[in-house]
Amino acid sequence: MEKKTVLYDKHVAANGKMVPFAGYILPVQYEKGVIAEHMAVRNGVGMFDVSHMGEIMCKGPDALKNVNHLMTNSYDGMYDGQARYTTMCNEHGGTVDDFIVYRIHEDEFMLVPNAANKDKDYKWILEHQIGDVTFTDVSEKYAQIAVQGPKAKDVILKMVDPDMIPKKYYSANFNATVAGIDCILSRTGYTGELGYEIYLPVEHAEEMWDAFLENGKEEGLIPCGLGARDTLRMEAAMPLYGHEMNDDISPLETALDFCVKMDKEEFVGKEAMEKNPSTKTRMGLKITGRGIAREHMDVYIGDEKIGQTTSGSHFPFMGGAYAMAILDKKHAEVGTEVEVEIRGKRVAAEIVPLPIYDRKKR
């Protein structure tokens, strides 16, 4: 039985097409469809219910020591409110999950895991925690609303004291008030656009949702579903657990080296990564033949299999079929012509750099 997020009634009222996802029932799209929602975020502003995401609090004198031990990124030298993306690995170097981790204070951090993994993650963390620290799963208490797109700031400026808006990408204000509601206002997102993610008590979620709809009218703000969330993150080359990584894929094999700090004294998975340097990496594929590559399709040069796609679709802003793939490093060169096996048929493709969409290069 899937859980409803606190915004379920809002989605149904807006004619959201409800589907099961990660243990929740969520809208895959609303009336205008995936492409219109995708383009709203690229050119204007869109709003997502991401209340299914988890929130795990980490508090105590050894909080910093724990996040540095459990996570592959380093949490040294941060200011309060700063966030860093990370993977959490197992002893074999495979990925348990990926997170955004915020520093609230020097002895308090907030971990944001994937919805589908939050129970697994929490169990893992409790089994691997060290020293004097308390982890608490507070996912049920928080709703999360993401407002994304070049016009997101215009909308939020009507609802908040400008001084409360985080100045930098990947930082948050833990004492913000938006539309009169106390919340965490984070400048993060999963779309490749400027935008905000707002964590707030579930009892105020409907009020916040309506406030954004009302204040975003002029900017053309529309609610967007999981379909657009997926195509937006793919265009921006943002990885999704279960696709670009899993328990057997190391972050070093999927071009997430930037969040693995091998110079840290220790972290879970470090030894395995030292012993087995990665021979694979993640690249983009532009499908030049006729067809649409999806996940788990084999990639060939001639008869040699050089890897497999991890995600793929028609990319609405790019206006064509693209994919991400984990490929052997020795063949992963931009411009290389390859073939993807799409339902038994070989289709021509070309290796391209990631991200496929970069807002700074528009």
């Binding site: 995936v34 492409i35 999806r294 028609h314 339902r343």
Partner: protein, 125 residues
């Protein structure tokens, strides 16, 4: 959108229009609405044989690929090549955007009329 009464309908949401000896086949409005924004269409070639109840092509939305099932058996005598460049035409006008035409029709699935099909769609929701 009202369901055109001059067409017949399959349980897999294709429509069939009789044009003399030729059967014109397309996807229903219910189907395009369920599939969402279509971005790719794969059709057979002229001269290919199609079989009632078997897939003759596929359509892909942003999210997924779906087979298109032939309501009749026969020989493909025309394909709508405009759709290959503009699959969204199916979303815009499902009953105008035909996929293929079939001649020498030898067999057919059991087909519904418009009111039967409307009831069938209601039960699928």
């Amino acid at each position: 959108m009202s369901t055109p009464t001059e067409l017949k309908y399959s349980k897999t949401h294709e429509w069939v229009k009789e044009e003399g000896d030729v059967m014109v086949i397309g996807l229903t409005d219910f189907a395009q609405n369920e599939l969402g924004d279509l971005v790719f269409v794969n059709l057979p070639e002229e001269g290919d044989e199609v079989e009632a109840g078997e897939a003759f092509g596929d359509v892909e939305s942003v999210k997924a690929v779906s087979d298109v099932i032939s309501p009749v058996s026969g020989e493909v005598c025309a394909i709508n090549e405009d759709l290959l460049d503009n699959p969204a035409a199916i979303n815009e006008d499902a009953y105008g955007a035909w996929l293929i035409k079939v001649k020498n029709v030898s067999d057919s699935e059991e087909l519904m009329d418009a009111s039967e099909y409307d009831k069938f769609c209601e039960s699928e929701k």
